[in-house]
Symmetry: C2
Amino acid sequence: MAPLSQSIAVLLQEPDGRPVYQQIAAGIRGAIERRELGPGERVPAIRSLATELAVNRDTVALAYEALASEGLLESAVGRGTFVRAEQLSSPGEPASLELSAQVDRLLALGDARPRYGAGQDVVALHSLIPDPSLYPVQDFRRAFNRVVARDGANLFVYGSPQGHAGLRRVLARRFGESGMDVEASDIVLCHGASQGISLALRLFAGEGDCVAVEGPTYHNVLGTLAGLGVRPAVVPMTERGPDLAALERVLARPEVRAFYTIPSFHNPMGITTDAEHRRALVEIARRAGKPVIEDAFEMDLRCSGRPMPPLAALDPSGVVVHLFSFSKSLFPGARVGAITARGRALEGLVALKHATDLSDSLPLQAAMAEFVDAGDYDRHLGRVRRALRGRHAAVTEALEEHLPPGTRFTRADGGYQIWVELPFAVDTRDLLADAARVGVLFSPGSHFLPDGGPSRCLRLAIAQPGEDEIRSGVEALGRVIRARLEARPLAGDGAGVDL
Amino acid sequence: MAPLSQSIAVLLQEPDGRPVYQQIAAGIRGAIERRELGPGERVPAIRSLATELAVNRDTVALAYEALASEGLLESAVGRGTFVRAEQLSSPGEPASLELSAQVDRLLALGDARPRYGAGQDVVALHSLIPDPSLYPVQDFRRAFNRVVARDGANLFVYGSPQGHAGLRRVLARRFGESGMDVEASDIVLCHGASQGISLALRLFAGEGDCVAVEGPTYHNVLGTLAGLGVRPAVVPMTERGPDLAALERVLARPEVRAFYTIPSFHNPMGITTDAEHRRALVEIARRAGKPVIEDAFEMDLRCSGRPMPPLAALDPSGVVVHLFSFSKSLFPGARVGAITARGRALEGLVALKHATDLSDSLPLQAAMAEFVDAGDYDRHLGRVRRALRGRHAAVTEALEEHLPPGTRFTRADGGYQIWVELPFAVDTRDLLADAARVGVLFSPGSHFLPDGGPSRCLRLAIAQPGEDEIRSGVEALGRVIRARLEARPLAGDGAGVDL
């Protein structure tokens, strides 16, 4: 038995009235404080520590989750759980340097966000990282080798700020098939849609400005806005998409500089707006003279229903800046995304990309162009869409079967997000620890709200788990929710907490 | 003869008193305006157009240079010269969207910067892109294949914001050998030193703040500052490095939040400060409580003399944030750099990297770790340093031989930059067209000055040309400078224009 397991085992022999998972957490916390476990060091796998301590795996998972939420542990999918590096106090007493106001805000925001310490045994219904078992790594590797053999050292210089022309041509053609009228020269490649979001926000807004966002919206956008000193102005979501009357009012405010929206497979709500809603949205933006940042991060993940033109395809006036990414439909590791814009917005993006990091990696962009051109990407999309259809069917069936009557949830035509609204007053943050204890993780609704307030909603993501895992995860989640429903006081239902 | 060459040939048959290069430029300008040459289209190679028109190659190069400085052409090393994409007016009249104040400033700055239209026939003494003929592309490709074979899909998920732990360990060990007391957990990997600069500046300064920079300094830092709405506060350079008394005064100003400095192989001056200067600099920053951003972008490019500890190695109090890059010592195409920081600055960097683009590409970082670990990087550094010794000797000898008496220039122990100060009153911007005409490009000193004012200095970079090219380039440059010296009025020398 390893020293860590030993010292925890000693703790467990002296029961102190706390739940076992808290005693395990205390043991590891002590080891970190005493520096027996150093920053960046891996803690034992859940499975092996559970065996050594003769406890249930869920108990260990819950202990790790508790330590992760304290910021002591962090985990990386497929690589295990580690002592967080930030615990390190470097040699010599660090000077207390004053950070910029924006970074101070970012740090405050980061401290308030939940952290997930997902072990290997947990059904990761919280994660938007696509399933690694589907990654066509060898095809991509071969595409990389072909382009390096062909173009050699020319691929290893700086690219232009717009990025590899071949990949831009490939993307322009694909975007054209979805109805966008776009040429390679209208595209700026970037470092995943995440960098696309940063650049597009900075293009239109600076310190003290506002940007309209949907409520709820992609939580990392809220972080990026905080980092830029830009305040969010909330446009509430309805079941048909963002409330257009509210959008019109918000865009009329002079301090609001742009609208960030996810029209297809909304994150977190899973909603895809219809063509009429899209046309009306673009027209409102055009009349207000305000740009729309269209996050089309899952545009290639439709697995049923008919295709819907992107906002950028319904935009003769050029108010839409369109963001694309390979991170969800292929894999995040190439860090390849694309921004499409026109006119001065395009010029501004090129200048901003240059001022930010000069250019992206040409070898990866060239490999991606080759991978798409060779048909590897479309073959992969076929596989992903098949898997996605099965997962959507599984999650729909499981939610119908295991969640209490009155629960509402998205039935999406693609993408990974399912939004679940519970039929009773609860803050879903309070369910997280219970769910982790039974081996399932989800994202509480408050995570996606600009004000971070309570929410009876939660987001499930079917990016990682397969059909069987989805079924068992939703079943476990159903048990936790029903237990909470049965334990609740009979009065006050529905008051005080809403979407 | 291609249509373009034909229409230019027609122009040349009707002499209008303008120099031939201007007539060629007019022909191409007309073709672009008439859309015979579309955005992104390649113009003929200098060599072939010169042959077709029966003119000297230099004449064509000069025409291209003129069009590049008008913003009509742009060129990419090794790939030719192209019609600039920004000329494109997209289908549909673009809405005139209001851009952020920062982006407006960036665009204004970009318009004022010289553009180089370097053809294949020009000695590129202006370029800091390392010589592609030295890139160990096949070794890197093999390292990439090995790590992908070993780690597979695990490399294609998102990395942590700090980046690949293996590469951080490798770098921590190397930094340790240069005297820095650093662990893998103190490092945040980033997208080249260029992103490192953006992140480090944003860490400490926001809209309305000041950051101290050297005058002259790396020109892209001035662009990045403009993009952030941060004003530069200038610390003049002396021949020993930044003026420490001036630094002390500048850092005492409350609005100055940090000092950006390049202590080894300064860009553009080539200077490396000594240990005494370094210790004094760190002590001044420590007393002022202000961070120092140490750009060590060429730290691995020493080719003679004894190693000098980085500022970060002389910094017990943790005021130094250290930037490293593989872009100059290996190649830029992997876009791999590293920031080393401590305490809350480290935490802030991690949060900022996450809010900017989540993480970098793990496969490239892992390949780089493998490449370094296998000894490929050190073998490459051996070759580069040998080449660099030869180039430094060649440039020194050529400058001594071909430049007018009284010219002063850097004799550097490494890096690519040579700073040349001419012994008479001239704005070196005015020499650029003459130099391009005789087939050599350089960077005028004003390019590196925060106020963009005139300068009698210029930067030569020996990153791309080999020894013979350096000799012929400097000889040509010497002819241009001597011609200007001889043509100048005898009075007024030395007045009005200084470093």
